[in-house]
């Protein structure tokens, strides 16, 4: 089973990856740090998962070679879990990418990373409600301190596909 870490550049995917796998790949406060993919392994409930740190992407139609790498990885794996990493202070654009991936029928879960930054900006996000609306696990994380990573791990088995038709109805009727 593969877990793909996807998200915009500089949202902390590599930091989450390092936390999940104990690896040492470069994290920089810099968009475009990771331009190739890195694989690692982690065990959840005795099951082995292959975790892949994917280069940052803005959307699912690639604009450059690094984004192409990202989409190739997505296409290559059979039925992966896509862990969409979102910068909590820029939640809308993160959700945009998450929607695109959900529309493609992948199993999805969401990490609201940089939760500490959101708190600093007095930004409050109703995680439970967001989870309820989207129907996928949503976990606030602070990848640099490790906060929320264990919850993230616990929720991996519950990552799920989303029926877009139903989602649309649900949102429209809010």
């Amino acid at each position: 089973m593969a877990i793909l870490l996807m998200g915009h550049p500089n949202v902390g995917k590599s930091a989450v990856f390092n936390r999940l796998t104990g690896a040492n790949i470069t994290e920089s406060n810099y968009p475009g740090t990771t331009v190739d993919f890195t694989e690692g392994y982690t065990y959840i409930d005795g099951k082995e998962y292959k975790v892949i740190d994917v280069p940052g992407t803005f959307s699912t139609d690639p604009k450059d070679e690094a984004e192409k790498v990202a989409l190739d990885i997505l296409a290559e794996h059979e039925d992966p879990i896509v862990l969409v990493v979102i910068d909590s202070t820029k939640i809308e654009r993160g959700l945009y990418l998450a929607f695109e991936i959900m529309e493609r029928g992948y199993k999805v879960m969401i990490a609201l990373n940089m939760w500490d930054d959101a708190e600093k900006h007095d930004l409050s996000i109703d995680v439970d409600q967001l989870e309820e609306i989207l129907g996928v696990p949503v976990v606030p994380t602070v990848a640099i301190s490790g906060k929320g990573i264990s919850t993230l791990v616990e929720n991996v088995p519950t990552a799920s596909r989303v029926d877009i038709e139903r989602l649309r109805e649900k949102i429209t009727s809010l």
């Binding site: 550049p9 500089n10 040492n24 470069t26 994290e27 920089s28 406060n29 810099y30 968009p31 475009g32 331009v35 190739d36 280069p55 604009k63 450059d64 070679e65 690094a66 790498v69 939640i91 809308e92 959700l95 945009y96 929607f99 695109e100 529309e103 493609r104 930054d117 900006h121 007095d122 930004l123 409050s124 996000i125 109703d126 995680v127 409600q129 967001l130 609306i133 989207l134 640099i144 877009i164 038709e165 989602l167 649309r168 949102i171 429209t172 809010l174």
Partner: protein, 409 residues
């Protein structure tokens, strides 16, 4: 099922309004500070202060280790000991491994175990530790992309558009990731241009470090000449090559306090990489040059290229040996150059030539790898070599001309 973008945004807007509550948007000292660093009027003086800090830190740190500890350690203890202890004095093996039995400093001994170790451990290691420490702090604090934006703003003011400043800054660490990061550029033209310009004109961290510790008095001139070359040839290539080079928009991340954990981890990865990747190449470089000397190859090349070297570039023919070592490691090449007897201007010229004449092997293989994705290896290499030869002759020759005009040759 797929949504169209407009509907997607509409739904997301709805979700966000339902679940996200924005605090009052107020500016803090931190956020204003972040803006001040990219505005030219305030940002440029600050950038100069940062560069001075970089330089000063380097000077103090590398000087402390190299001059304070490694020079006496190698010159007073290691060198005399190995010169005596190594058997087979007079044999070719002694020459390759230990070098000159009479040498009194580790620079001029020229053996793998003497000069090789000294350059690798005594000079390059402190240099790259100092260098990467500062780079990592600048990276993690978020200042690097700000510097990039600032440079970009200034470049726009003087009419240079679409330069990829981020790969450029990455290249200052090492050309290999610099070349790899050209992947984030949109068009083939841009990727080709930046890839070639980076690998030709931008010296890597190890080379910068060695230049700063061995020839600090010439560092500024060399860098100005190289960076000017970057932009001059960038401008020319941009005019000559077909294709588009669209604006490059960098998302500027917030300023953050770098964490000790992340900085030390990154530094550790770099240092480990240095021990496994760089040291063998430095030793190999020294050994290779020694073998070529023994085989008479170096003097043959030096004599046949002498007209070109002394006539066109104005540098002594002895610089051939460092040039050969430079294929493996540019830092080693600079160290070897600094041991050759020549005038200051010749030293500047030869370091410039070392920088531009050919990328090191590691960068070269990365260009081949990336070239596959940027219009084919043949095209990239062909175009690259053509550019390279032109650059070396024109830019190297021009420097000689400048020297003649200034009357310093």
């Amino acid at each position: 099922m797929k949504l169209d973008p407009e509907e997607r945004w509409r739904l997301i807007d709805r979700v966000a309004r339902e679940t996200v509550e924005y605090g009052a948007e107020r500016s803090t000292i931190g956020s204003v500070l972040a803006e001040l660093t990219v505005k030219p009027l305030t940002g440029i003086p600050f950038a100069f202060a940062v560069l001075y800090g970089f330089w000063g830190f380097f000077d103090a740190f590398a000087g402390f280790f190299t001059d304070g500890f490694f020079v006496p350690l190698f010159d007073d203890h290691w060198l005399p000991w190995i010169q005596e202890a190594f058997p087979l004095k007079g044999s070719w093996l002694y020459y390759v491994l230990v070098g000159d039995p009479e040498a009194v400093n580790s620079f001029e001994a020229l053996g793998m175990l003497t000069s090789g170790f000294f350059v690798a451990i005594g000079v390059v290691l402190p240099a790259i530790v100092a260098f990467y420490l500062v780079i990592t702090i600048l990276e993690d604090s978020g200042y690097m992309p700000r510097l990039a934006v600032l440079v970009d703003t200034v470049l726009h003011k003087i009419g240079l558009h679409g330069f990829a400043v981020v790969p450029m800054i990455l290249s200052l660490g090492c050309n290999v990731p610099g070349v790899a990061s050209t992947r984030t550029l949109e068009t083939k033209k841009q990727r080709f241009m930046i890839m070639i310009l980076l690998s030709v004109f931008i010296p890597c961290g190890a080379q910068l470090g060695v230049m700063l510790s061995l020839i600090p008095e010439y560092f500024g001139y060399i860098m100005i000449y190289l960076v000017t070359g970057f932009f001059v040839f960038g401008w020319v290539l941009n005019k000559l090559l077909p294709g588009r080079s669209p604006e490059i928009i960098t998302d500027v991340p917030p300023l953050r306090t770098p964490t000790i954990a992340n900085v030390s981890r990154k530094l550790w990865v770099k240092v480990k990489g240095f021990f496994t990747n760089a040291i063998p190449f430095v030793l190999l470089g020294v050994g290779l040059v020694n073998l070529l000397y023994l085989g008479g190859v170096i003097s043959w090349i030096a004599n046949s290229l002498e007209p070109l070297f002394t006539g066109w570039f104005g540098i002594p023919k002895e610089t051939v040996a460092p040039l050969i070592a430079g294929f493996l490691r540019k830092d080693l090449a600079v160290a070897q150059l600094s041991a050759i007897d020549m005038s200051g201007f010749q030293l500047i010229t030869s370091v410039v030539i070392i920088s531009i004449y050919f990328p090191c092997i590691a960068t070269f293989s990365m260009i081949i790898k990336e070239g596959r994705k940027s219009g084919g290896v043949i095209r990239v290499l062909g175009g690259g070599l053509l550019t390279l030869v032109t650059v070396v002759f024109l830019w190297g020759g021009l420097l000689h001309l400048i020297g003649i005009l200034l009357g310093v040759t």
